[in-house]
Amino acid sequence: MKSKNARGHSAGAFKALSAAALAIPGIVSQVQAAAPVAEAELDYKASAYREADIEGSKLAAGSASRYEIDTHQLRFISPLGRASDLAVDLSYETMSGASPWFIMPGTGGGKPVQVMSGASIEEERKDIQTSIGHYFSQKVSAKVLLGFSTENDYQAVNMGVEASIEIPARELTVTAGIGFSDDEIEPTDPGMPDRIDSATRTSTTAFVAIAQVLNNRTAVQGGLTLVNNDGYLSDPYKKVWREDLSNTVADKRPNERQQVIASARLRHYVPSLRGALHVDYRFFDDDWDVSSHTVDLAWYQNIGDNWQLTPSLRYYGQSQAYFYGPFFYSARDDGYASSDYRLSPYGALSFRLRLERNWGEFSANFEWESYRAAANLAPDDVSVENPGLVEFDILSLGLNFHL
């Protein structure tokens, strides 16, 4: 069987297009909001994502080898006439491996154990995201975004608009935007009992962000985002173990999910060390009772004229969704149930290291990330750890050309 878990409750999957959107005010450079990019650039990145095998003691049945994803990304940005610019992001992924299916109670008072899906055949995902920015003046700019992604069981169309206003006298940039995503799920093997034939979901996002330059080496940004998800938000490939039935039932989640995200970012340059500090914080809260904190710290160290080494550390910790359980003794009154590890209480630590070499008009970078999730990293005490929590490494090689 296929080992895919449909998700897609937010329009935040691809942030690439906003990379330069929330620029530091007043700067005439490639990071400035109120001027189009000066020259064309091409970026390429190849990444290998590898999940660690699930431990034998946690595995009840199915394949121990989890997901592997190979990704190729291409990004092209270019000026377009005198007052506009263009960005195109292409992404091609191939995925294979097994993923968590449902969880059974441990025998003899032991910990619960994971039943995995069988290993999948190779699947692919293609994604194109485009944006056109227009600069009405040195202070006002707007951007239109349009994207499409396709997998053999999932299609998403998204669009959005963003507008930016600079207030140079106060060194402020205010950016606001709205986005919309219309997704369609057509699970493979629809003939399986209680698997849907097809379903749709939509996601609407609105955000506002304020960037402030504090001095000639420090800038901060605060953001507030509201997301409303509507439609089929369950996972057609996941099941839930019911003790009273001695059998599984389908994963079932509410048809609506509202999310609030508050974020704060700091950039600080230290001339004496020729390095830059990044501090990113995000608070997430939704009406499924999931609430989380994310802290990301990075230090960009320039070495000599052409090298840059960047170690980073990320912490993520979340509370569980109210209808989550590793397994259930009986049906909940509301009928909802999910054993998805992503809705369980846990925390995750990830370490990244990035090395970049610059040759003027060309640069190359190598990146490694190691991510580990565990219940004991959660913000609150967790009595039962979900056995499906993930551990992965990503290796990537990136190239950048100024055309």
Partner: protein, 167 residues
């Protein structure tokens, strides 16, 4: 006596001017500043009678990656007709400017202003900003930013300023 007063007058002028941006139609303020790559200082008055494009740039400025090669092309085209580009670099670290020039070398005179006295004198508001000065030393055009198509527009302006006679 008059010569001795000049530096005092200049500094008073600098102080008064620092708060005020220069406007189109005003006389360009004279200065003498160290060159970026050579030991001899460069003085604006040395170029009197010429049409001068006085450009303020920095290695970190995105549009400058486009403007410097464009200005070099204009300089080659019109230097024998009496046109010059004077480019004032405002980088905090001169090494950044030199590294930039390795990949984008230019032939026109380059000034390095460590104290960033000149951008204050001219009241520069953004990077890059340039002042197109006619043969009589009057600012005729202030060019902020640098976008695709600007080279052609500047070529026309330079051509028409070169055609003007000094009265």
């Amino acid at each position: 006596m008059v010569r001795g007063l000049a530096p005092v007058l200049l500094s008073v002028m600098l102080f008064l001017q620092s708060a005020q941006a220069l406007q189109i139609g005003e006389k360009a303020l004279d200065f003498s500043a160290p060159a970026l790559l050579t030991p001899q200082p460069i003085q604006l008055a040395d170029h009197s009678g010429q049409v001068v494009y006085l450009d303020f740039w920095a290695s970190w400025c995105g549009p400058c990656r486009v403007s410097l090669p464009s200005l070099d092309a204009l300089y080659h085209e019109f230097k024998t007709a009496g046109f010059s580009v004077l480019a004032v670099n405002v980088d905090a670290d001169i090494r950044d400017a030199k590294r930039f020039l390795q990949t984008r070398p230019v032939n026109y005179p380059l000034i390095y202003d460590a104290e960033q006295r000149l951008p204050k004198l001219y009241g520069v508001k953004g990077m890059p900003t340039a002042y197109l000065i006619d043969r009589r030393g009057v600012i005729r055009h202030i060019h902020e930013g640098f976008r695709p198509g600007d080279e052609a527009r500047l070529r026309e302006m330079v051509r028409s300023l070169l055609a003007e006679q000094i009265q």
